[in-house]
C-alpha cells in the first residue's frame, strides 16, 4: 500500500535531512512509527500524504506515484485517499460537530457532499458515541470527544490510508486506550491501512509492526 524508496528530504535552510532507503507498509497493515522528537516522523507522514515532496527517491502510495504528481493532483489524492488525524485535532471552533466532519466536503471539489455522505457522517458519529452531540459546537467538547470528531472527519471519505500523528498525545491515559480502540476498530471496519506516529511505547504491542526512526535519521555533522 505504501512504498518509500531511496528517499531524501531536507527542509530548505536547515541541516535536517531525512533519508529512508526502503520502507513499506502492506494493505490493511497497522504500523506504529516511533523515534525521538525531530527525527522526521511527521515529515514522513506529510511525504506520504503528498503535503511535502521528496528531493530524491519516490513515494508510492495507494497505486499513485505521489512524488511525481502535480500540486492539484496531490491535493486530490490527499483528499480522496488519505485520512489525517492530528495531535491537536485541527477542528474549527466556529463549526459544530457535524459541520467539522463534513468540512473537507465543503472546501474541495474532489468530494461531493451528498445526502448519503451526511447519513454516513451521522452513522460514524453515532458509532463514535457522539450521536447526541452532532449539533454541538466543538469548543464545548472534551479532548477525547474532539479527537473522535477528528477521526470521523478523517474516515468519512473512506480513505485507503489513515495517517495518525500523535493522535493520542493530548489525551489522558484512560482516553488514550479508548480512542485508539475506536481508531483501530474504525480503520479495520473500513479496511484501511494505518500509519501512526506515537511516543507512547505502551501502545506499541497493539500495532502489527513498529518502525523505529532512529534507523533512518541522518544528521549532517554528527
Amino acid at each position: 500500500m505504501i512504498r518509500v524508496r531511496s528517499l531524501e528530504f531536507r527542509y530548505p535552510g536547515t541541516d535536517f535531512l531525512l533519508r529512508i532507503p526502503d520502507f513499506q507498509v502492506g494493505t490493511r497493515e497497522m504500523v506504529a512509527v516511533i523515534g525521538p522528537s525531530g527525527s522526521g516522523k511527521t515529515t514522513l507522514l506529510n511525504l506520504v500524504a503528498g503535503i511535502l515532496v521528496p528531493e530524491q527517491g519516490s513515494v508510492h502510495c495507494a497505486d499513485s506515484e505521489v512524488s511525481t504528481l502535480s500540486d492539484a493532483a496531490r491535493r486530490d489524492f490527499r483528499i480522496s485517499r488519505i485520512g489525517f488525524v492530528f495531535q491537536d485535532f485541527e477542528l474549527l471552533d466556529y463549526l459544530n460537530v457535524l459541520d467539522n466532519v463534513l468540512h473537507p466536503y465543503r472546501i474541495t471539489g474532489a468530494l461531493k457532499l451528498t445526502p448519503r455522505i451526511r447519513e454516513r457522517a451521522r452513522d460514524l458519529l453515532q458509532q463514535m458515541g457522539l450521536g447526541d452531540k452532532i449539533q454541538r459546537g466543538v469548543e464545548r467538547l472534551s479532548q477525547g470527544e474532539k479527537q473522535r470528531v477528528a477521526i470521523c472527519r478523517a474516515l468519512l471519505p473512506s480513505p485507503q490510508i489513515v495517517l495518525a500523528d500523535e493522535a493520542t498525545g493530548n489525551l489522558d491515559p484512560r482516553n488514550k486506550g479508548h480512542i485508539l480502540d475506536l481508531l483501530f476498530e474504525a480503520v479495520q471496519a473500513h479496511g484501511s491501512t494505518l500509519l501512526a506516529v506515537t511516543h507512547d511505547h505502551e501502545l506499541l504491542p497493539r500495532f502489527d509492526r513498529t518502525v523505529d526512526f532512529n534507523d533512518f535519521l541522518v544528521k549532517d555533522g554528527l
Binding site: I51, D71, D76, Y94, L95, H103, R106, I107, T108
Partner: protein, 393 residues
C-alpha cells in the same frame, strides 16, 4: 460557492462582535454620504421647486432669506411686518396679482398661514375632505396636520398664544376645521390655512364684542361644591366665532393698515414683472421685491459648498475605514493561521482560503448593504421632516 458561503456564514455568525463591528463600519461609511445626498436632494426638491414656482415675493426690507423661508416654507423666523396697503398698491399697479400672506402664528405647533383663496389656486391645492373655508373663524388644514392632530372637518383647533404670557390679553381662537387639503408634498401639508381676516382675529385686531367665551365643558371641572369649584389645567379661555356673534366682529381702524408678512406677486407677464421689480429697487421704498428662486439658489449654493466639505471629510474617513478594514482582515488571517493550516492539511488549496475570505467579505458587505438600504428607506421617509427641521427651521 454555496459551501464557501455556508462556512463563511458560520464563521461570521460565530464571531458576532467582530462581524457586528465590521458591518457597522461598512454600513456607516456607506450610509453617511448616501443619507447626506438624500437629505440634500430632498431639500433641493422642497426648496427649489417651490421657489421656482413663486415668481416674486414682496416683503419688508431685511433678510431676503428670512422672508422667503417664512413665506414659502413657513419657517419660524417672522420677517418685519408690512401692511395690507402693500398688496392694494400692487393690485392698483395692474402689473401683478397680489396674494397677501400673514405667516406669524401657530396652532399646536403648525404654522397658521393667513391668506386669501387665491393662494389655493396659485399653489394648486385641492380640498380632499370637507369644503373650502367660507366663514370667519374657519380654517383648512394640510394633510399632515390632519393626520398628526387627528383632525377632520367639523373639528376645532385652538391657535397658540404667540408668547407664553400674552400681555395684550389675546385669547386663543377656536378655529373650525372646514376642510382638509389633499396631500401636496409641500409645506402646505403642514399648514393651517385661513382667511387673512381670521388671522387678524387670531391676533386680536379684528374682534367681536364678546371676546371671551368661558368653557361650559364639564371635563375641566375636577370638583364642584356649593361654594368652591376646582378646575384642572385644561381650563382655557378662548375666542370662538359663532353664528350668533359673527356679526359683532369688526375691523378697528383702516383695513389698509392691517399687517402682513409678505405678498406673493404674480406678474401678468414677464414685462410686468420686470417693471414691478424696477419699481421696488428704490431704497426709499420700505419694501423689497425678491425672486425666491434666486434667493434659494443662493442658499443651495451655500449648502452645497458645505456638502462638498462634508463629502471630502467623508471620503477621508472612508479611506481610513477601508484601510482599517484591510488591516482587520490581514490581522485576522494571521490569527487564523492555524485554521488555514488545517484547511491545507485536509485538502484545501490557497484558492479555498481566498474563496472563504471572499465569501466572508461578501456576507459582510451584503448585510451592510441591506442595512444601508434600510437606513436609506428610513432617511427617505423622514427626509422631508429632516429638511424642515434642519434647513427651514
Amino acid at each position: 460557492m454555496i459551501d464557501s458561503l455556508y462556512i463563511a456564514w458560520k464563521y461570521v455568525s460565530f464571531y458576532k462582535a467582530r462581524t457586528a463591528t465590521l458591518v457597522a463600519c461598512v454600513t456607516l461609511i456607506a450610509a453617511l454620504p448616501l443619507a447626506l445626498e438624500l437629505v440634500l436632494e430632498e431639500s433641493e426638491r422642497q426648496l427649489l421647486s417651490r421657489a421656482e414656482s413663486t415668481p416674486l415675493l414682496l416683503g419688508a426690507r431685511g433678510s431676503a432669506l428670512d422672508l422667503v423661508m417664512n413665506s414659502l416654507y413657513f419657517g419660524d423666523e417672522v420677517p418685519e411686518l408690512i401692511s395690507m396697503r402693500a398688496a392694494d398698491d400692487m393690485d392698483a399697479s395692474g402689473l401683478a396679482t397680489p396674494i397677501p400672506l400673514y405667516v406669524r402664528f401657530q396652532a399646536r405647533g403648525f404654522p397658521i398661514v393667513g391668506t386669501t383663496l387665491d393662494y389655493f389656486d396659485f399653489r394648486d391645492l385641492h380640498i380632499a375632505q370637507g369644503r373650502q373655508m367660507a366663514l370667519l373663524g374657519e380654517c383648512v388644514i394640510g394633510a399632515e396636520v390632519a393626520e398628526r392632530l387627528e383632525l377632520k372637518p367639523g373639528d376645532t383647533l385652538l391657535s397658540s398664544p404667540e408668547t407664553l404670557f400674552d400681555l395684550a390679553g389675546v385669547y386663543p381662537l377656536k378655529m373650525k376645521v372646514a376642510g382638509v387639503l389633499a396631500r401636496s408634498y409641500t409645506p402646505d401639508d403642514l399648514a393651517v390655512l385661513l382667511d387673512l381676516k381670521t388671522a387678524w382675529v387670531v391676533q386680536g385686531l379684528v374682534h367681536g364684542h364678546e371676546d371671551v367665551t368661558r368653557t361650559q365643558d364639564d371635563s375641566v371641572i375636577i370638583k364642584r361644591s356649593d361654594n368652591n369649584v376646582i378646575a384642572n389645567a385644561k381650563l382655557v379661555e378662548y375666542t370662538e366665532i359663532t353664528t350668533e356673534n359673527v356679526d359683532s366682529f369688526h375691523f378697528h381702524g383702516a383695513p389698509d393698515d392691517y399687517p402682513l408678512t409678505a405678498v406673493l406677486a404674480l406678474p401678468n407677464d414677464e414685462r410686468s414683472g420686470t417693471i414691478l421689480r424696477g419699481r421696488y429697487l428704490d431704497t426709499a421704498i420700505p419694501y423689497q421685491l425678491v425672486v425666491p428662486g434666486d434667493v434659494i439658489v443662493g442658499l443651495l449654493a451655500n449648502i452645497f459648498r458645505i456638502k462638498n466639505v462634508l463629502d471630502a471629510v467623508i471620503l477621508m474617513v472612508g479611506v481610513a475605514t477601508a484601510l482599517a478594514l484591510i488591516l482587520v482582515f490581514a490581522l485576522s488571517l494571521r490569527l487564523r493561521q492555524h485554521e488555514i493550516r488545517t484547511v491545507f492539511r485536509i485538502g484545501g488549496s490557497r484558492l479555498t482560503i481566498f474563496r472563504l475570505l471572499g465569501a466572508e467579505i461578501t456576507i459582510i458587505f451584503l448585510v451592510s448593504g441591506l442595512l444601508c438600504g434600510f437606513a436609506m428607506i428610513v432617511v427617505d421617509q423622514y427626509s422631508a421632516e429632516l429638511v424642515r427641521r434642519l434647513v427651514i427651521g
